[in-house]
C-alpha cells in the first residue's frame, strides 16, 4: 500500500456547466497537513466538494486515488466510510433528527462497510460521551437535533466532534469564508490538532494566515483559475500574508 493517502491527477470539474477545475494535481501523504490558499473563485471549495462527491459537481476528466482506490467511482457515503471527512463551513441543521440517531446511523453504516459488528448501545454512548467532552460540548448534545439552534461556535465544535467519532484518514477543513471569525477558526484548528489520529491528514482551505498559525501545515498550495500554481512550505503562506497573490500572477505571466 502506498503511504500516499490522496493522489489527484489532472482533475477537471464543472458546476452548472461552468468549468471550475482545470487540471488539478495534488498529492498528500499520510499524516500531512496541507493548506490550500487562493482568492475567491480559484476552485478551492470546488476541489473539496468534488473529493467528497457532492452531486452538484461534475468531474469531466482526471482521476483521484484515495488510499490507492479509485475515489471518483465511489458514492459519497462510501468515500466517508473509506475515511474522507469534510467539515462544513455552514453545517446543515436537521430538525427532528437527534445527534445520537444521526451518529448511530453513520457509525453503524461505516462499521458494516468495514465488515465490523455494530457497536453495542452502551459502547456507542460511552464513545459519544468521551468525544463530546473533548470538544467541550455539553451533555444535552445527544438529545438535540443535528445543529438545530446551535450557535456558530457550537456548530463548529459539532463538526469536530463528528470528525472525532468517525476517525477519518483525511479531513477537509473548509473555512474559506470564516476568516474573520477567529473563534471559529481556533475551534476547528485546535479541535483538529487535539482530536485527530496521528495518521490523519488534512486539507485546510482558507485565505487567512491565522488559521495556518494554529494548524502549522506541512505543505502550502496556491490555487489560481482552477489549478494549483505554487506549492511550498510554510514560508509560502508567510509571503502571501505579506504580499497577497499578485506576485504569483506576475510570475505566471512571465513564465
Amino acid at each position: 500500500m502506498s503511504s500516499m493517502i490522496l493522489e489527484v491527477r489532472n482533475l477537471y470539474a464543472s458546476v452548472e456547466g461552468k468549468e471550475i477545475l482545470k487540471g488539478v494535481n495534488l498529492t498528500i501523504g499520510a499524516g500531512e497537513i496541507h493548506a490550500l490558499m487562493g482568492s475567491n473563485g480559484s476552485g478551492k471549495s470546488t476541489l473539496s466538494n468534488v473529493l467528497v462527491g457532492n452531486p452538484q459537481y461534475t468531474v469531466t476528466q482526471g482521476e483521484v486515488l484515495f488510499n490507492g482506490k479509485n475515489l471518483l467511482s465511489m458514492s459519497p457515503e462510501n468515500r466517508s466510510h473509506e475515511g474522507i471527512f469534510m467539515s462544513f463551513q455552514q453545517p446543515i441543521e436537521i430538525p427532528g433528527v437527534s445527534m445520537t440517531n444521526f451518529l448511530r446511523a453513520a457509525l453503524d453504516a461505516k462499521r458494516k462497510y468495514l465488515g465490523l459488528e455494530p457497536l453495542g448501545t452502551s459502547d456507542f454512548l460511552k464513545l459519544m460521551r468521551e468525544k463530546r467532552a473533548m470538544v467541550e460540548l455539553d451533555a444535552s448534545l445527544a438529545r438535540r437535533s443535528v445543529n438545530e439552534g446551535f450557535s456558530g461556535g457550537e456548530k463548529k465544535r459539532n463538526e469536530i466532534f463528528q470528525m472525532a467519532m468517525l476517525e477519518p484518514r483525511l479531513a477537509i477543513l473548509d473555512e474559506t469564508d470564516s476568516g474573520l471569525d477567529v473563534d471559529a477558526l481556533r475551534i476547528v484548528a485546535d479541535g483538529f490538532r487535539r482530536l485527530r489520529r496521528e495518521d490523519t491528514s488534512a486539507i485546510v482551505i482558507t485565505h487567512y494566515q491565522k488559521m495556518l498559525d494554529y494548524l502549522k501545515p506541512d505543505v502550502v498550495h496556491v490555487m489560481m483559475d482552477g489549478r494549483i500554481v505554487r506549492t511550498g512550505g510554510p514560508e509560502l503562506a508567510d509571503r502571501i500574508e505579506r504580499d497577497g497573490f499578485d506576485w504569483i500572477k506576475e510570475e505566471l505571466k512571465e513564465a
Binding site: 466517508s80 471527512f85 462544513f88 433528527v97 440517531n101 444521526f102 453513520a106 453504516a109
Partner: protein
C-alpha cells in the same frame, strides 16, 4: 354511479332482521337515514367535501354484512398482539361492531365502557339525547348510510368530575370469513369536569377485504378533557370511512390525534364545534402512504363561541403511488371574538408518482382574532441528504431519518406519553419495512 343502491336494497330486504339485532334507539333513525340516502345518493367528485375521494367506487364491491351479528370470531381477539402493548391501559376489542372485553380488563371507576345497544336496553332513553344528534345524517351520505345500517357500537361515558389517568384502549379488529362491511357507531360522553384518554387502534386479522364506516359523536361537557388517539395499521385493501363529530362546551379541551401508518383507502372527516367560551381543540395527525394507499382528511373547526383556541397540524409522507388529501376549514363565526387558531398541513412526496392535494381554508367573520393557516408540499432537503451522505449515512437510511423527523412534529402533540414514545418507534419500524405489514397481524405476514 349508484353503488348506494345495493345497500338501500339490502336494508329494505332485511329491515326487520337489522332491527332485531340492534336496539330501539338506533332503529328509530334508520328509516329517515334510508330516505336521505335514497334521495341524494353517494356524493360525486364534484361534491365539495368529497372531491378527493371516490365514494361510489369505494362502496361498489359486493361486501357482505353480518346482519345477524354472528359472533364468529370473538375468541380470536384474545390472541391478538397489539403493537402498542403494556401502556397501563384498560383494553377492550371491537370485532366489527361488537364489543368484547377480556375478563382481565377492569375499567376505571366512574367510567362506563359498554356496547351502545346493551346500555340502551338497560337504561332506556338515556342515550337518546346523544345518539344521532351531532352526526349530520340528514345531509352527509356516509353518515346516513351508517345510521341506516349500524347495529351497535361503542359507548364511553365518563362521570362528572371523574378524572382517570389510565388510557382506555379499544382495538378494532377486522376479521371474518369473507369480504365484509362493518358499520359502527362510537359515542363518547364526557360529563362536566371529566378527564380521560382513549386510544383506538385499527387492525385486520383476516385475509379478506374490509370496508368500515364509523360514525363517532363526542360530547365534551364544561371543563372536561379528552385525549383521543387513533392509530390505523390495516392493509392495502382496507377501506375506512371515519366521521367524527365533537361538540365542546365551555373550557373543555379536546386533543385528537389520527395516525394512518398502514391502510388502503381512508377518508376521515373531523368536525369540531367550539360551542362554549374558552374551549380548546388540538387536532393532529401523521400519514405514511405507500403503494396505492389513499388518505383523505376533511376537517372543520367551527369557532362558535369566543375565546377559544384551535391548533391543527397534519403531516403526510407519501411514497409509491399513494395519494393524500387534506381539506381543512377553520370557521370563525361573528361572535367568536378573541379566537386563536393555527392550521398547518405539511407534506412530503418522496416518490415521483405520489400525489398530495392540500386545501387549508380560513373563513373569518369576527374582527378581533389571531388566525394562521398554511400548507406545504415538498421533497426531502437535498442539502441535509448530502450532509448525511458525507457522514456516511446511506441514502435510504437518510431518507428514513428525515421522514421520521418530519412526522415527529405531529407525534410530539400526542399527550399520552408512553404512546408518544411508542409512536416514534412505530413510525421508525414503518419506514424500515417500507411496503411490509404492520407486524401485528398474520394477514400481512403471510402475503
Amino acid at each position: 354511479m349508484g353503488s348506494e343502491k345495493q345497500y338501500l336494497d339490502l336494508y329494505r330486504e332485511n329491515e326487520v332482521l337489522v332491527a332485531t339485532h340492534s336496539c330501539g334507539m338506533m332503529n328509530a333513525l334508520r328509516r329517515g337515514a334510508h330516505d336521505v340516502l335514497a334521495r341524494q345518493g353517494f356524493p360525486t367528485l364534484k361534491t365539495e367535501d368529497y372531491r378527493y375521494t371516490d365514494v361510489d367506487e369505494a362502496f361498489a364491491p359486493d361486501y357482505g354484512i353480518n346482519v345477524r351479528r354472528l359472533p364468529f370470531v370473538v375468541d380470536r381477539s384474545s390472541a391478538f398482539r397489539c403493537s402498542v402493548p403494556n401502556m397501563g391501559v384498560a383494553m377492550g376489542f371491537m370485532v366489527g361492531d361488537r364489543l368484547t372485553v377480556p375478563a382481565t380488563t377492569h375499567w376505571p371507576e366512574g367510567v362506563t365502557v359498554d356496547s351502545i345497544c346493551n346500555y340502551d336496553r338497560q337504561h332506556p332513553g338515556r342515550l337518546a339525547e346523544y345518539y344521532g344528534r351531532l352526526a349530520p345524517w340528514g345531509t352527509d351520505a356516509v353518515a346516513a348510510l351508517n345510521t341506516m345500517l349500524a347495529q351497535d357500537g361503542l359507548l364511553i361515558w365518563v362521570e362528572k368530575g371523574r378524572k382517570t389517568d389510565a388510557t382506555l384502549q379499544i382495538v378494532n379488529l377486522g376479521c371474518g370469513e369473507m369480504d365484509l362491511m362493518t358499520n359502527r357507531r362510537i359515542l363518547i360522553i364526557m360529563e362536566e369536569g371529566a378527564k380521560a384518554s382513549v386510544l383506538m387502534c385499527d387492525h385486520n386479522i383476516d385475509r379478506h377485504r374490509f370496508l368500515t364506516t364509523q360514525v363517532g359523536e363526542i360530547y365534551m361537557g364544561e371543563g372536561s378533557s379528552l385525549s383521543l388517539c387513533g392509530i390505523e395499521e390495516t392493509d392495502g385493501e382496507n377501506g375506512m370511512f371515519d366521521n367524527l363529530y365533537v361538540m365542546q362546551q365551555k373550557n373543555s379541551s379536546f386533543d385528537g390525534g389520527f395516525f394512518s401508518l398502514h391502510c388502503g383507502l381512508t377518508r376521515r372527516s373531523i368536525d369540531v364545534k367550539l360551542a362554549g367560551e374558552g374551549a380548546r381543540a388540538e387536532l393532529f395527525g401523521g400519514v405514511t402512504g405507500d403503494a396505492a394507499s389513499h388518505v383523505d382528511t376533511n376537517l372543520l373547526v367551527d369557532h362558535v363561541a369566543g375565546g377559544c383556541k384551535s391548533n391543527v397540524l397534519f403531516k403526510y409522507v407519501l411514497d409509491g403511488k399513494s395519494t393524500g388529501a387534506f381539506a381543512g376549514k377553520v370557521l370563525v363565526r361573528k361572535d367568536a371574538q378573541k379566537t386563536e387558531s393555527q392550521e398547518t398541513n405539511a407534506n412530503l412526496c418522496v416518490s415521483p408518482e405520489a400525489r398530495m392535494y392540500t386545501q387549508p381554508m380560513l373563513e373569518i367573520y369576527a374582527d378581533d382574532v389571531r388566525c394562521n393557516h398554511g400548507s406545504t408540499v415538498g421533497r426531502l432537503d437535498e442539502k441535509a441528504l448530502f450532509y448525511m451522505a458525507q457522514r456516511g449515512i446511506p441514502e435510504e437510511e437518510a431518507n428514513m431519518l428525515l421522514q421520521e423527523a418530519f412526522l415527529g412534529d405531529a407525534i410530539r402533540m400526542v399527550k399520552i406519553e408512553p404512546l408518544r414514545e411508542r409512536l416514534y418507534l412505530m413510525v421508525r419500524e414503518r419506514f424500515r419495512h417500507k411496503l411490509g405489514g404492520c407486524g401485528g397481524c398474520d394477514k400481512c405476514a403471510t402475503k
